[in-house]
Structures are given as structure tokens and as C-alpha cells.
Symmetry: C2
Subunit: 346 residues, 2 copies
């Protein structure tokens, strides 16, 4: 059963040819260099033994592992699986695989994980963990790996990224609420250490300003993390501070679900008393009560683009072309469901 692993050398011995001949046949690119008849014999024998070339050995020799490392902050957060799927789909098309690891939010742990990935000779890194001022990115840059950031970006522009257009998303959300007649809109702000939290906050301010809303009427409330519990606490406190609020624009869907908890606790109805808008359109927010109005982000597409970008970078590297950093911004979409309606009468 446990058939002994066949190698190039083994096959060559059986066939009475040189290993380099077998090697040439196994690679479709170089197969033409070998005589038709010999090639067929080699192929047949390889198949008979279920020969599978050892890619690690090849990687060692060519200094190309065809592995891209992917570091996630939390695979359990529903936005990441689709991104990952997009990355994998695209990489696979080009003969690459993803070495995915979950690193949490702690920079020390992340640095450790990056070192693990580098020790395993990944050709490139895709980081979904970026913070605006990210020490780990510096670490990666020093190591000299090809690098791309996905979903989040850093502030210093040292690395290419594929992100959502956060300004556009917030504009959609704000204009939806404005159109319904809301003028007292609280923004539950996500972590300011992350580009998403920061840019959505700016997007909220920009969108309101564009519609002539005064600074004083922009009601911001910080949440410590993108979690349901932080959303609940933030919403409770925001309701206290701004009792006249008729709508809440949450930094993401998890915060929005926390708002649902808080509103229920306060005996307020959504959307009749307070409208709520989320951000991400993560799975199943159409099933909650009430179905959540939110901003849909193309997570799968984001993964695909990130993979393409990193693959392109790898190609340029080989061609010795420098190439500056780019930021690819995907357009989000408003999904109106039942958590938003016209404001209650004051």
C-alpha cells in the first residue's frame, strides 16, 4: 500500500536514462527537448509509479517556492473567508498556493508568524492585518519579500494595497439616510488605528460637509474594536450623549449588530425609533431582525486583485523592473433592507 516514494533518480535508473532526461520530460516546458519515443517511455513509467515531483526540492534549486504567505487577523471574522477564497482561486490559476495563517492582532505574534512564513521560503506576502502605522510591515520590507496589503492599508505608502473605497461607501450610506430625511446621524467610529476605521470616519465627515451639514452636527462616537460587544457599549453611550439621534451609521456590521442589542435593551425599535446602517454586508445580515441595511464590499474580488497584484510584483521582480506602489480601490454598493426608514417625529 504505502508505495515507496518515487524520485527522478529512481525513474532514471529503471529506464536506463539520465536523470536530466527524466527531468526534462516531466516539465512540459522542456519536454520538446527530448525525443518523442523516449519521452513517451518516461511518461508511462512515471504514471505507473504515481511519480509526483518534489516541489520543495525544485524550490530549493530554483529559489522559487511558488508559495504566497497570507496573514489574517481573524479567520473567524466573516469578511475574511471570501477574501481568502479570491486569493486562492487566483493563485491556483497561476500554479501558486497560499500558506494561510491566523496571527491575531498582536504585532509581536505577527512578527513571529511572518518569520515562520519567511523561513518556509514564501515568494511573497499578502497581509490582511495592516494597521495605519504598522511595525510588522517594516519588518517584512527589511526582509525584502514582495508585499501587498489587502482590505486595510498603511499610511506611509510603502506598500501596494487592494482596498475598498471607504469614502464612496460612507457617501452612499450618508446620502441614503439624508434622503430618508435624517439630519441627526451618529457615526459609531471603528478603531482609528485601522485604515478602515479612519477613512470611514473621514468619509462620514466629507459626505455630510458636502451636503452643508455643520461640523457641530457631526456626531461621532468611538468604539474600541470591531466587535458586537463594542458596538453595544458604544451605542448605549452614544444614545446617552445624543438622545435626539434618529440614525446610527455603524463602522461595520458587527458594530451594527451590537447596536441592535443596545436598542433592544433601551426599549427602542429599529427602524421606527432609530435607523441603523452597517458596513460590509457580511453573510446572514439579511437574516437578522430587522434585516440590515449596509454597504456591500466585494471581498472576493478584493482577494483576486490582491493575488494578481502580488503575482505581477513577482514578475516585475524577475524582470528587474522597480515599479512604484499602487492602491487599488474597489467600489462598494448600498444594500437597502429594513433597518432604515424615515426618522421618527421629534
Amino acid at each position: 500500500m504505502q508505495q515507496k516514494k518515487m524520485t527522478l533518480k529512481g525513474l532514471a535508473e529503471i529506464l536506463g536514462v539520465h536523470t536530466s532526461t527524466v527531468g526534462r520530460v516531466m516539465d512540459p516546458e522542456t519536454r520538446h527537448m527530448v525525443g518523442e519515443e523516449v519521452a513517451q517511455r518516461v511518461l508511462r513509467e512515471a504514471a505507473r509509479h504515481g511519480y509526483r515531483p518534489n516541489k520543495m526540492a525544485a524550490a530549493l534549486r530554483t529559489r522559487r517556492s511558488n508559495i504566497v504567505g497570507v496573514m489574517l487577523p481573524d479567520i473567524t471574522n466573516p469578511v475574511f473567508p471570501p477574501i481568502l477564497l479570491g486569493i486562492e482561486d487566483e493563485l491556483r490559476k497561476h500554479g501558486y498556493v497560499a500558506l494561510v495563517t491566523n496571527a491575531g492582532e498582536d504585532p509581536e505574534q505577527q512578527r513571529f508568524v511572518v518569520d515562520q512564513l519567511l523561513a518556509r521560503q514564501v515568494d511573497a506576502l499578502i497581509l490582511a492585518t495592516a494597521t495605519r502605522d504598522d511595525p510588522v510591515i517594516g519588518h517584512c520590507l527589511e526582509a525584502g519579500v514582495a508585499l501587498v496589503t489587502v482590505n486595510r492599508s498603511e499610511d506611509r505608502g510603502r506598500v501596494s494595497s487592494v482596498v475598498n473605497d471607504e469614502y464612496a461607501g460612507m457617501r452612499l450610506a450618508v446620502e441614503h439616510l439624508l434622503a430618508l430625511g435624517h439630519s441627526r446621524i451618529v457615526h459609531l467610529v471603528g478603531p482609528q488605528t485601522l485604515s478602515t476605521g479612519h477613512l470611514r470616519r473621514e468619509g462620514y465627515e466629507l459626505a455630510l460637509a458636502a451636503h452643508g451639514v455643520a461640523r457641530a452636527d457631526m456626531w461621532l462616537f468611538d468604539c474600541s474594536a470591531y466587535t458586537r460587544e463594542a458596538g453595544r457599549a458604544g451605542c448605549l453611550a452614544a444614545l446617552e450623549r445624543y438622545p435626539q439621534a434618529t440614525a446610527i451609521l455603524a463602522g461595520n456590521d458587527l458594530l451594527a449588530l451590537g447596536c441592535y442589542d443596545a436598542l433592544r435593551e433601551r426599549g427602542l425599535r429599529c427602524p421606527e425609533d432609530v435607523s441603523v446602517v452597517g458596513h460590509n454586508d457580511m453573510p446572514f445580515v439579511d437574516m437578522v431582525n430587522p434585516p440590515l441595511t449596509t454597504i456591500r464590499i466585494g471581498h472576493h474580488a478584493m482577494g483576486v486583485q490582491a493575488a494578481q497584484l502580488v503575482l505581477r510584483r513577482l514578475k516585475e521582480e524577475k524582470d528587474e523592473q522597480g515599479g512604484g506602489q499602487v492602491e487599488i480601490r474597489l467600489k462598494p454598493e448600498l444594500v437597502v433592507r429594513n433597518s432604515t426608514t424615515v426618522p421618527r417625529k421629534a
Copy 2:
């Protein structure tokens, strides 16, 4: 910036010692073989150059990659991320990493993915894709890799597995409904090609039989897949066939959510008209309307156990001990929320 990659040989040259000396120092296990003073010099120089041993080269030499391949059917299904997390956490503790890939449900594609993983020299495989009669498992067995199945198992007992105790879960669900007073309980059956679908069905029958319910009063309805849409269609058809049903026991949470859709379409209220029970307790089913009563499965623990099992198998392999196949069954838990109540009056 892009500092040239340092190697054992490079360090040895700089230090004027032999590569094997440097090698011995880099491995804590063999460090004691080297003189204290030399070891310190080596360590200092290694740190100065940010030396990171090439694990691929080591793997080639030792024939141990310390990589475990993990094959998933669909990372987008919320039950898998926690399993994955458990696997990774445990593997990391032992110096292993997971090479995760999403393979879909198609056996051809899965076989291809397995070959990819094997070509990359994984030491072992954890499959979350198992079907009751699984051709891909045969393929893996032939290749002679250490193998463990997680969440699902195959029928032939050729491979160890870590699964949920499906009988126990169904007993909890059935007895909960019985205790509420239901006697007309439909079971929306999951795919019979999967151990989960099959065993939950048997569990339903066993539990009802234990309470003296006649075969004729066991109302089964097959669903083609574990999806919300299949649940909706199945529920609609089941309602047609069994109009007196007062409760639905869905094969999993996704099917249960599909029931919600169907009930809404038929103008039936849950739980007043029909109680619904799910299976898995996946994230956010506490936020749907109504919050779902379901069976909680320890997915993270399942991943941890699967990793432990495969690691143990690897160790035995080294120790030349055969060791038969085992099945580890985790105990599930009933989570009562608002989708179940006493039956309506007939």
C-alpha cells in the same frame, strides 16, 4: 534594504568555522555540542545578519516538512473557520504549520488538490471533506500519508476521525421538542452522502423510537444540500406533505434558516405555528429572527483534537508502531433560544 539572504555557509565563512558547527548552534537540541564561546559568537553573528534557517532545505534533508495539509470543502461555511483555528493553534504549538486549501465538493478537484499538497511534501493530511464513500481517501491512503478526517467521517473505518456525536445531538433536540409537547416532528434530512446527514437521520429515528414513537410518525424529508435555499425548498415541500407538523428539526443551521424563509412565505409564525431547531450553533444564529434554538458543536475543540490525533500518528509512524484507527466523538450541547415553544393547538 533588501538584505541578501544569509545562509549557513555564508555565516560559516564570515566566522571562519565549519558549516556543521554553525548548524549545530542554530538547533537548540544540538547546541550543547559546541563550545560555549564559539556558540555565542555564532549566535551573535546570526542575529546581526537576521539569519533565518531555510526550512525547505532542512525538510528536504530530513524528509520532514513539518507541514500538515488541510483540505476544506468551503471556507465560507461558518463552521469551518473555528475548526481551522483549532487545528492551527494546536499545530503551531508543536512547530507545525497548516497548508490550508479550499477544494469544493468535487472529487476530481479534491484529488488534484491532494496531489498539490503531496507534491509540497506535507507530512500529513486533515480532511474536512470526507464523504461516506470517499474515493479521495483511497487516493490518499495509496499515497501513504498520515491521514485524519474532521467533522465528517467515512463509512469504511480506514481512517481515524474527530467528529461530533451526532446521535447525542439529535437526542438532545428530539427530547427538547418532546418535552415541550410536540409529537409531530419533521426532520429535514441533510445529504445522505455525508456522515453528518446520515447519522443525524439515524439519531432522530433512534431518539423517537426510544420514546415509543412509531415508525409511521417519523416524518422525514430529504434536502439535497446543506444550504439555505435547499432548506427553504425542503420546508415548503414538507409543509405540503405534513400539514399537521408542529416542529421542524433541521439537519443544520443553514437548513433551519431556509425554514425561516419558507415559513414566512407561507405566512406561518415561528415558533407560535411551527417550532424550528437547527444544528451547529454557527455564528450569529442568536441574532436572527427569532433567535435559533440549536445544537452547539465544539468546532474549535474538534480542530484541536484533529491536530493532536494527526501529530500522534506522525509520532507513532516514526516509532514504527502501527496503531489502529480511532474515532473521537465530541459531546454536543443544546442551546435553547426562541425558535421553539409549545405546539399550537391542533
